[in-house]
């Protein structure tokens, strides 16, 4: 049975209202009261498939809707087929300054071009959430760093990564050197590229990866 329930949600929860007086900071959240319709089954299935609670899913939907109010319908009972293009999603404040923003969005999109449906949008933040296990995060981090989508981190990918990390402050020779050394260090099977196994092995020994590969929503 499918229960239809309309839930009135105020995106601005009472905590924030309460805190607003205390801290004087640029407010990024606009008070907007929305009514979003989700069927109960959709909630359950999303809760089963991601690391989010009901409230967070609603909040995520609020954010998704905010990106393109005229495109995204309020009523999600029938799971309408609607996708937002990369350019819109990349403009979220959470991603805006991230050098890998395009890759993040692309790796979570079905078509690889960066068009995200709501499901994929939720998926993205679920993987980047605090609760996601290391293995899952490692897989998507690998996808993100794999710029040319050839299932390896080769020299080309590494160069791109380094240029994005350092905002092209390093000279080409330095980049070259770092690439070589990096591959030398992490390549266990000697094919001069990093396969997923190499990457995972490296990530499993980087204690800070879990805390840095994390975006709060």
């Amino acid at each position: 049975m499918i229960l239809h329930r309309c839930v009135i949600v105020s995106i601005l929860c009472k905590f924030r209202l309460h805190l607003k007086g205390f801290v004087i900071m640029s407010s990024a959240i606009k008070p907007s009261i929305q009514s979003i319709c989700f069927s109960h089954a959709v909630f359950l299935s999303l809760q089963d498939c991601t690391f989010f609670t009901r409230k967070e899913i609603l909040r995520l939907h609020g954010r998704y809707h905010e990106l393109a109010p005229h495109l995204v319908p309020m009523d999600y009972t029938n799971e309408p087929d609607c996708k937002l293009p990369l350019a819109l999603i990349v403009n979220m404040p959470e991603l805006k300054e991230n050098p890998f923003r395009n890759r993040i969005v692309e790796s979570f999109s079905e078509d690889g071009m960066g068009n995200l449906s709501f499901n994929e949008f939720v998926d993205m933040f679920s993987v980047l959430s605090e609760m996601a296990p290391r293995e899952l995060k490692a897989i998507y981090a690998f996808k993100i760093y794999d710029f040319n989508v050839d299932n390896y981190l080769c020299k080309e990918d590494l160069e791109k990564t380094l240029n994005k990390l350092t905002k092209e402050e390093l000279t080409p020779e330095e980049v070259e050197l770092v690439c070589e050394k990096t591959i030398e260090e992490a390549d266990l099977d000697g094919d001069h590229k990093l396969s997923f196994a190499d990457f995972e092995n490296m990530i499993s020994r980087a204690p800070d990866f879990l805390s840095t590969f994390h975006i709060r929503i």
Partner: protein, 871 residues
Amino acid sequence: MARNVNFDLSHPLMEAGLESPADEEGVHDSFQQLIAEHADNGAASSALELQQLQSDLVEESQDNIPLCGPEHEHRRQGASDLECDGGEREMDQIQGEGWSSDTLKILSSMPSRTIGRNRGAIISQYCNKTLKLRRRRQTRPSIRDFSPSSRPSIRSYGMEGDTIDAEVSKRERLVNNLQNLPVSDRVRMLRGMPLSVAEKKEIRNLVMQKEKRILSNKRLSCYSQLKYYIIIAARKSWYSWLSFLHSLQPWQTLLKRVSGRFGTGVLSYFLFLKTLVFFNVFLFLVTGAFLVLPQAVHPPDEATETRSFSGLELLTGAGSFSHTVMYYGYYTNYTLPRSSRGEGRGQNASALSSDSQQFSYNMPLAYFFTIGMAFFITCIILVYSMSKTFGRSFRINKSNSILTMKTFSSWDFKVIKKKSVQIMSENICTQLKVSMQTNMILVHIVDADWQECADLKHSLWSVSLPHTTLLLPPHQELLAELTQKNTKSTFCKRFCRQMVHGVAWTICIASTTGCMAGVYYFSEFIHKDLQQNYRKFEVYPLMKEARLLSLPTVVSLINLLLPALFNVVAWMEIYESPSVFAYVAIGRNLMLKTSMLGVLCFHWLGRVAPEYKSIGLTCWESFVGEELYRFLLMDFIFTLLDTLFGELLWRLFSEKVLKKKRKPVFDIARNVLDLIYGQTLAWLGVLFSPLLPAVQILKLFLVFYIKMSSVMMNCQAPRKPYRASQMTTIFITLLCIPSLLGASVCVTYTMWSITPSTSCGPFRGLSTMFKAGKHWMKILEKDNPKLSVLSKAHTYFVENPFFLFVGAGIFLIVIYFHSQVVDGQRKIISLLQDQIQNEGEDKKFLINQLQSVHKQKQDAGKRLKSQDSTC
């Protein structure tokens, strides 16, 4: 790599262009489909390898003469020598020739390369995982429950030409496996699957449908139907409970802002603060529910003089506060009647009527056990979280792939502020440069080119020195290791450095000892002063209490000033490794704080407690509680002052006077140590003042907002990366080992061997607090002689120190075994790592063999061809 990929070239399948999936069950077997997908996506996704492969195939077809027959067909493929994949540099045998297309095909479809990358591979991987889990759990719904078509049959393991079929059957099997898992495992599996949500939903729906079908087909017994519904209801309520818990989490937005601006390092301070709040909330709930509430509902009869509230109480905690539920002295030593319908309240424990005993609340026992259990549970939670963070942050093997880690895990995805992003990328740039130079130095060390090495190191220091503050990135550790390796430094230099260290440590220890002695004599002086003056009539009794504020002020002042002195001292010494530097700084601060608390504990328990009557106290426990309240408050006030002067005024000063653009950097380590100190005070005080956790909660809330706004206004993003997980582990450990352990030792000592006040508190009239249990036993025995066994058991077990030793011994043995297990795992890990390397070697060897066989065949073909042409 250990999978049995078939390399046999004479196998007919190889000629068919690898048409077959490897056909073993339980292993990745969708090669064929993978290849197909690769071929589909090849152009679009710019799969380098395959592009090269294709272009090479074109080239190769140019110089190839079409041959007929399967044998020739095979040769034609084998002849495709390609130039690709940097790996060929190591391939001595086939240098310059590259690999053939077949080799490349095999390589690109190796299971280890496709896991996590490809839908088919993921599904098959998870199929195996669920199968394993299912076997482990041994859940029952067996094959009978499925319709015959969905049963995994032998046929489906065989070779399947159609790839879509293969995937469908894979998925079916996955669905079956998932359906047989318990709900919690199923959800965990689903969440962990690296598939898109849409696909996960589909799988989930399939599982649910199947379950429903089974439920409707099979006539369920009433019991299992009930169980099914109970499970569903439980899950729903669990989700709503989670939602509720999540909404309880305070400060979500603020934490997001801090993390967006400062990254993981500063965030970890606030997260630590949040954990402390949770510890205190727990403590408060326990003491509130079991001590404060019952006592507040049944206030004691003794008429207490009520003093008017004057405001100074907020500072001193004494005055009109001293006879409230806040302090130990207020609590009664008799059993509280629960059913208080006009019954006499002041019943003495010994005079209890037997029927009221059934609904009674024995205050001394409640006090004893509440405090004991609260400490015990806190200890367990702390040890658990400590071990968890240990496991997470100190990975068993030390990594040597520093550059890789820096490249792939140093970007903090949380940071969203433009300026901080800029700083972070500059930071990473510097680190990479330093690591490169370090690398070069290493090379030079190998070459024993010392002069150049020294030059490089000099430049290295000049790069890294501006960022040398308390916590430093790993690259400088590398550098440190390097300097250790480079033991060429002269004896004189080393001696000088040792001297500096010696002097620094002497200064630190001397100043700490001096402060300790100062506090010791000052507290003695105050004690004597109280002894002399308590008889004198004071016009303002509050002034007497206000005078008591001097001791906490002095201690807090020392706590504020001495760390600054330590910083100055540390500034003049050079440490080889920055982490040693950080640990030394933490160690010195810790030494100071523990010695302070030690002196204070001695003052309270050794001086005040035995001779409390000589200073005119009726209840020394309440007095100690008040003292702890004052200390807590002073600590808070000094934190405020520190924030104001150290951060706000310093920023204004440097901005307006020095005209510098740099803002101060938030000193995470020192602030966290301050928090730990405050928490120790709170834990010490729970026994004497059950409401102290509430005060601490309030204090922490205020500190949170003050620090938050101060950080936002005054500080800039840290210039050096902060090893958040490692430092968090250290801080949790510090919270557990000196802090909680010290507090519980003090509390246990108080309970065990100090005589409580004779005229107040729940333990009056007993020789120690610990005797409360025995006392109760005696009463029980008197009331009900049958229970004398219990009393004997109590005497035998609880009061016998032998069992304590046995308990401690078992605990130690468990710890020892665990450490042994970890040790074993470490060995296994290093073995496995060797094995990975060996597998890599094996793979290279096999590929070489494959390649050479190809070459032989190709040569044979050429010879055949030339023979043909000559004929």
